[in-house]
Symmetry: C2
Subunit: 612 residues, 2 copies
């Protein structure tokens, strides 16, 4: 082998081939070939998602990570992790569909199983004879009769919202049309050959992620996102709930803000794929319980005060017209079930898409945010248990002196190496602050290097800071910062992180305790959500955010809630399963568990240092 | 007999008795006894509706009116008109059910059979335990579980519009409440012991008549009416349809006008009976097809142009929220089926309430208005036939020089007697113009007395009007008129009436002809609607508005459409029957019948004078 040796890597069934240097991993090769393999860990051998099958040719031997992450069966079939294997000769690879990434880092759709569509709405083509004086049946009667005669449908009814649009549309189309049928209801009429589409939304407190899908094929045609416009009325849920209770018509205003954004996202996507809003027959919107309430303009008083009761947590089908969404006249918005006031439909969607409820291993599913929801699946047990931890916004960069969102210039990676402090920023821009994953790294490294003591106090001696100022560690001096101000973590910042990680850790421990399970018994931890997908698991383990399990038991699945929303959009069965998940999940209120305070206090500390 | 002599009048089967002066009529006696006998003519011996049977005792002899209005058979059985007979001794009377009036002149409910209620909404009382931290189920989940546990209801779903109101209402009521159930759907929550109410509306082009009903007992609690506010945008249907096509947002504006009026009527009635709008669980609104379209903001272009196609003629259940009606959150508005673009749900309601479709006699049902709808029932035949005649607004006082609506001072009665011209006005105010029934009388009397010739021209010699002015007959000289202007009928007015009556007569003839029935075979003519209830049948026969059948074959039933709306409000079965009536009725378009023009031209003439 010489330094210049090149081999050909062929990807099937895509049929693409590429010449690569022998030092490249198969993941690098895929990237060169323009094939987006799923890889939430970014090629670290952690996520086990970039599975490919070696059909012919030679590659480097199995690594230890691969032995852990691939089943015996998979190994026998020649499956490898693309990030761990390098080609030793020309190779031909098979790429399984579920290793393909749609390309977007936050919507790692194919980490999760693709779902065959089973939509609620179908399109049927029908043609009517135009009215005459001899046959002046009403427009709806004419259409209904044609559906009965040509397609054998009986007992068909119209959406009340269809009638105002039918007369003009039918005439524009010369009475040749594609009828959108939902069960026995005609919800819209579109041009022949036009397809029914759907809108899947993950309505986050900070961000709204939307996807436009073909309901029949289940394909994502387009995706888009926008900040949640309610942010101007409160960054977090609590302040928004306070606002709507305080302000006149606050509830309506908040609802309209988000509905307008949804309409805008929908319209942009529809335009991009040259479709019309009338084709959008169905929507599915997941979110935390408060976001759902604000979207629907439901009352929030009882949700904001103990015992924090939702107006409803059960699945609902809402006429799109009630939300002023511009869709097919009788289109519906499916609001999946939630589990409680603090465990929303987004968590149900995450459980659904990650198939936590069916996992054959003892598994924890966790969605980290201002509120962190955690569910426990014990194989063989009917009931899942869910808790919600008030982890606060520290991991989103809030309440941190130099914290910020994951925008350009945010420090997202921190590592102390032989060459000193290595800092990575979003878009490689000059650093201007920390985003969540950067803070986590920074705290982990400060602790690993002895700047922080197990109780979270800075070691002032090591810090070489002797004045009375609040102790802090400066990562970027003012001169090197993009903003002209130093970027540091202060003692108060560390405490915020301790509170956040303590709440999550304690929640997880009580969840296990209540089910009489020791942490070591946990076979898999599914980490979902934006923050969860970006973090480095070793850092999370270093500070004790998670229990000290082998790294490979952690699986980062990206925005599983968004995928769950897409599943429920295109599949009746997925909705049934979601409703079953919600029914089967017992909500455990942490604050009434006697050991919570003790656990929480304990979990604030950093764990003993282990050699890694 | 002395001036003071009193007799006892006993009414059976009601079992009421009353002492009256011997000068009182039996109608006066009934009034004293609180028994509302039907009497559209107000006791003038014209309408023949206040029939009672003298079981024992002596009364004054038959009057000429009675000889005319009662059949020989009836006279033999002792039937009398209560307004014409006075007691000569103690008497016992039998009151047939169809002589009972609900009291309101326009809503002669009990002319028609009372209906036992069979409502779609029922109220069930339920009590929930309030939420705690240990039991923080959502408000809806709590209610649903209580319905299942306490009443055994399964698979219950909420109206989407219920959720925004449930949380507050349930807390206000301390979780003890009356739940409004519609099939398996919770549509509202009201205070315990409060009853579900309903709103029945006859949405006329000119007038809106509304009734508030107790859905469980079927009782009318209150009724009210208002002018149709759309009148400011056009007195008749055609000009309103033109307006909405011309004006920006015209359709929305017209819809909102009438919806606001409905809300106002509803609120007034609800306040009057000390109920709350949330108790109003269901509504039923009947109207002509155009009024329904305008209420619903449906497109009207295709309705206004040949072939005059409705957006839909089929029954619909619309969420009240879509019409901005303030009712129970998930309340529904039932729109009964119509028969065609020119035969609306009000006609179906009329057929329903008058039971035309089940009549054992060969019967015509007629609803006179700007459009006059006529249906034919042939016993033993499955199909009814309906026509619509463009009779124009002359009978509503429009297009008549001195025409007006039936308001104070309107001439509603005209009679030429030995004492000369006798004129009756609404509220006995000084005359200011003619309303429909007055015009009909006036034309009939002018023809009877020879002022008009069979072709409708004035006899100028008899008129003693020799100048070149348009011939006219002055009924009230300027000096005696309430407005200071003379009140007359002009030649043009007569022509308008000829057009109107010609259209109706021709419609009826073609309807019969198409079914190969001669006029003499018609056994009953049901005359419904406001105008139809006020007119004197002899006048209608005199000018040939109706075929020359014996007077007793004509039955004036008051506002049967309004009664039909009430039936459909309180009864599932009535709705099924209405839908069956609409399905079974064949619409016959008059303008495509070859003989229509000939019939119409012929029917413009007045019939040969018969000695009465």
């Amino acid at each position: 082998m010489t330094a210049n040796r090149e081999v050909t890597v062929q990807f099937q069934p895509i049929g693409r081939r590429v010449q690569v240097d022998w030092q490249a991993t198969l993941l690098d090769a895929a990237r060169q070939a323009g094939i987006a393999l799923t890889s939430t860990c970014g090629g670290e051998g952690n996520c086990g998602q970039c599975r490919i099958q070696v059909v012919s040719g030679e590659v480097t031997p199995l690594t230890e990570d691969e032995r852990y992450l691939l089943s015996e069966e998979e190994r026998r079939q020649g499956y490898r992790l693309a990030c761990c294997a390098r080609p030793l000769s020309d190779v031909r690879l098979h790429v399984p569909a579920d290793s393909l990434d749609s390309g977007q880092r936050l919507q790692i759709e194919s980490v999760l199983r693709p779902l065959s569509p089973d939509p609620l709405v179908r399109a049927v083509e029908v043609s009517c004879t135009p009215p005459t004086l001899e046959d002046s049946r009403s427009d709806w009667t004419r259409l209904r009769a044609a559906l009965a005669e040509q397609l054998g449908f009986r007992e068909i009814v119209p959406s009340s919202a269809l009638i105002p649009q039918l007369s003009q549309t039918a005439r524009q189309m010369n009475w040749q049309m594609n009828v959108l049928l939902r069960h026995a209801e005609v919800i819209g009429v579109i041009a022949p050959q036009k397809k029914p589409l759907g809108l899947a939304v993950d309505l986050g407190t900070t961000k709204i992620a939307a996807a436009l899908m073909d309901l029949e094929s289940g394909q994502t045609l387009c995706s888009s996102g926008a900040p949640n416009p309610q942010i101007s009325y409160g960054e977090d849920v609590v302040s928004r709930l306070a606002y709507v209770q305080r302000a006149r018509q606050g509830s309506q205003k908040m609802a309209e803000l988000v509905r307008q954004t949804l309409n805008q996202l929908l319209l942009d996507m529809v335009n991009k794929v040259e479709a019309s809003p009338e084709q959008v027959a169905e929507a599915c919107i997941v979110g935390n319980t408060a976001m759902t309430h604000l979207l629907m303009a439901w009352p929030v008083r009882q949700l904001a005060l103990a015992p924090y009761v939702a107006a409803t947590t059960e699945a609902l089908e809402i006429p799109a017209a009630e939300l002023n969404l511009r869709m097919a006249p009788g289109g519906r918005v499916y609001l999946p079930p939630a589990i409680g006031g603090y465990v929303g439909s987004d968590h149900v969607a995450m459980v659904l898409a990650s198939e936590l409820d069916r996992n054959e291993r003892l598994t924890i599913g966790i969605d980290i945010g201002t509120n962190t929801e955690i569910s426990l699946r014990v194989p063989g047990k009917e009931t899942l248990t869910a808790v919600s931890c008030a982890s606060g916004p520290a991991f989103e960069g809030a309440h941190i002196r130099d914290g910020m969102r994951a925008a350009s210039g945010a420090i997202e990676k921190v590592l102390f190496t032989d060459q000193g402090w290595q800092i990575g920023t979003v878009d490689n821009e000059p650093p201007i602050g920390f985003c969540g994953s950067g803070i986590l790294d920074a705290v982990a490294e400060l602790y690993r290097c002895g700047y922080l003591m197990p109780n979270g106090r800075f070691d002032r001696q090591k810090l070489k800071q002797t004045n009375d100022n609040e102790p802090r560690f400066v990562f970027v001096p003012a001169a090197q910062s993009g903003s002209g101000r130093e970027i540091a973590l202060t003692q108060k910042d560390i405490n915020e992180i301790q509170l956040a990680k303590g709440a999550i850790h304690a929640g997880m421990m009580i969840l296990l305790e209540a089910n009489q399970i020791s942490p070591q018994e946990v076979e898999e931890v599914i980490v979902a959500g934006a923050f969860g997908s970006y973090i480095r698991i070793p850092s999370a383990l270093q500070i004790g955010l998670f229990p000290p399990l082998p790294r490979a038991r952690y699986r980062q699945v990206g925005n599983a809630a968004a995928i769950g929303a897409q599943w429920m959009l295109i599949s009746k069965q997925a909705r049934q399963r979601a409703e079953e998940i919600a029914r089967r999940t017992r909500y455990l209120e942490l604050t009434i568990v006697p050991s919570f305070n003790r656990q929480f206090a304990h979990a604030m500390h950093f764990p003993p240092q282990t050699e890694t």
